[in-house]
C-alpha cells in the first residue's frame, strides 16, 4: 500500500511536470517558426507553396518533441509498468 500510493503520487506529479516543461520548448519553437514563415510569405507571396510545405514538415519535427512528452505522460498515467508490477504483487 505504501509503495503503491508513493508510485501513484510520483507518477501523477511527474506526468504533469513532463507536459508542463515539455510543452514550453516546442511552443516557443513553433511560434518562432510560424512567425518567420509568415514574414517570409509576406515578403515573397509567390513562394508561399514551398514555404508552407517546409513549414508543415518543420512544425511536425518540432512538435514531435512535445508528442514524446505526451506519450511519456500517458504511459505514466495509464500504462505505468511499476504500478502494474506492485498491483500484481499486492494482489498475490
Amino acid at each position: 500500500m505504501e509503495s503503491l500510493s508513493l508510485i501513484a503520487m510520483v507518477s501523477i506529479i511527474t506526468a504533469g511536470l513532463t507536459m508542463a516543461i515539455g510543452s514550453v520548448g516546442p511552443a516557443l519553437g513553433e511560434a518562432r517558426a510560424v512567425a518567420q514563415a509568415l514574414s517570409a510569405i509576406a515578403q515573397q507571396p509567390d513562394e508561399s507553396a514551398t514555404i508552407t510545405r517546409t513549414l508543415f514538415v518543420g512544425l511536425a519535427m518540432i512538435e514531435s518533441t512535445a508528442i514524446y512528452c505526451f506519450v511519456l505522460a500517458m504511459i505514466l498515467i495509464f500504462a505505468n509498468p511499476f504500478w502494474n508490477h506492485f498491483v500484481q504483487a499486492a494482489g498475490g
Binding site: 510545405r53 511536425a60 508528442i67 500504462a79
Partner: protein, 264 residues
C-alpha cells in the same frame, strides 16, 4: 480505464490466436482502398468523357506526383507506388475515424512501427538502386568518417520518431475525445474530433513527405560527391579525371534529371 490502443480490443479469439481491432481495421482500410481502385480502374477512358470516380482518382494521383516531384526534384514515377500508398493508407485510416465504431489502426504503435520500418528499409533500397551500393554507403562517411556513428544513430532515431509521431498524434486525439466525453459531453468533443480530422490529414501528409525526403536524400546525387570522397581518401589530384567512376554516375544521373525537367 481507457483502452490505450486498438491492440487491446480483441474482436475474436480462437485458441491462442486473437484477432484484435488493429488487424481487422487495417485489412478493412486495405480492402476499401483496393476495392475502390479496382472498381474505378476497370473501365478507364482516355476520351473527353470521364466518369466521376476516374476524375477523382486522377486528381489524387496527379496531386501526389506533383508533391513528390517538388520534394525529390526528379521523376516521381519510381517513388509514387511506395510513398503514395503510405499516404493513402494513413490518410484513409485517419479520416475513417469519424465512422462510429471504427478505431484508426494508426492509433496503435505496432501499425506505425511497421510503417516506419517500411521507410527504414525503403531508404537504402531506393538509394542503392539509384546510385549503386558503394556510392550509397559513402553517404555514411560524409563529411568525415568521424560522423559514421552519428549518421547510423540518426538513421535509427528518425525511424523511431516517424513511428512515435504518428502514433502520438492519433492516439492523443482518441484519448482526448474519451476524456472530454466524460467531462463536457455533446458539443466540445465534436469540435475536437473535427480538429482530429485535420491533424490526421496533416500527419498523413507529413509522414509521406518525410518518407520522401529521407528517400530523396539517400537517392539524390550530391553535387561534388565524388570530390568529397576523393578528399576523404586524401588524393585530390584526380578531381578532374574524367575516368573517375563516381563522376560518370553523377553526370549520367544529372543528365537524366535535366531531361526530365526539360520534359515538364
Amino acid at each position: 480505464m481507457i483502452a490505450m490502443s486498438p491492440d487491446d480490443w480483441v474482436l475474436w479469439q480462437w485458441g491462442g490466436f486473437a484477432l484484435n481491432a488493429t488487424i481487422v481495421f487495417t485489412w478493412l482500410v486495405m480492402a476499401v482502398l483496393v476495392g475502390v481502385s479496382w472498381l474505378v480502374t476497370r473501365r478507364l477512358s482516355s476520351g473527353p468523357e470521364l466518369s466521376r470516380w476516374q476524375n477523382a482518382l486522377e486528381v489524387l494521383v496527379m496531386g501526389m506526383r506533383d508533391q513528390i516531384a517538388q520534394v525529390a526534384r526528379y521523376d516521381p514515377g519510381a517513388y509514387l507506388p511506395f510513398v503514395g500508398t503510405l499516404f493513402l493508407f494513413i490518410a484513409f485510416s485517419n479520416l475513417l475515424a469519424v465512422v462510429p465504431g471504427f478505431r484508426a489502426p494508426t492509433g496503435s504503435l505496432s501499425t506505425t512501427t511497421a510503417l516506419a520500418l517500411c521507410v527504414f528499409i525503403a531508404v537504402p533500397v531506393f538509394g542503392i538502386v539509384r546510385q549503386g551500393p558503394m556510392q550509397y554507403l559513402r553517404h555514411y562517411v560524409r563529411p568525415t568518417p568521424l560522423m559514421l556513428p552519428f549518421n547510423l544513430i540518426g538513421e535509427i532515431s528518425r525511424t523511431v520518431a516517424l513511428a512515435v509521431r504518428l502514433y502520438g498524434n492519433i492516439m492523443s486525439g482518441t484519448v482526448l475525445a474519451g476524456i472530454l466525453l466524460s467531462l463536457t459531453p455533446f458539443f466540445f468533443p465534436v469540435v475536437m474530433q473535427l480538429l482530429g480530422l485535420l491533424t490526421g490529414m496533416i500527419q498523413a501528409y507529413i509522414f509521406a513527405v518525410l518518407a520522401m525526403v529521407y528517400i530523396a536524400s539517400a537517392a539524390s546525387v550530391v553535387p561534388g560527391a565524388a570530390r568529397g570522397g576523393a578528399d576523404v581518401a586524401g588524393d585530390r589530384d584526380d578531381r578532374d579525371d574524367p575516368g573517375d567512376p563516381d563522376r560518370d554516375t553523377n553526370t549520367v544521373l544529372d543528365e537524366e534529371d535535366t531531361k526530365w525537367k526539360a520534359s515538364r
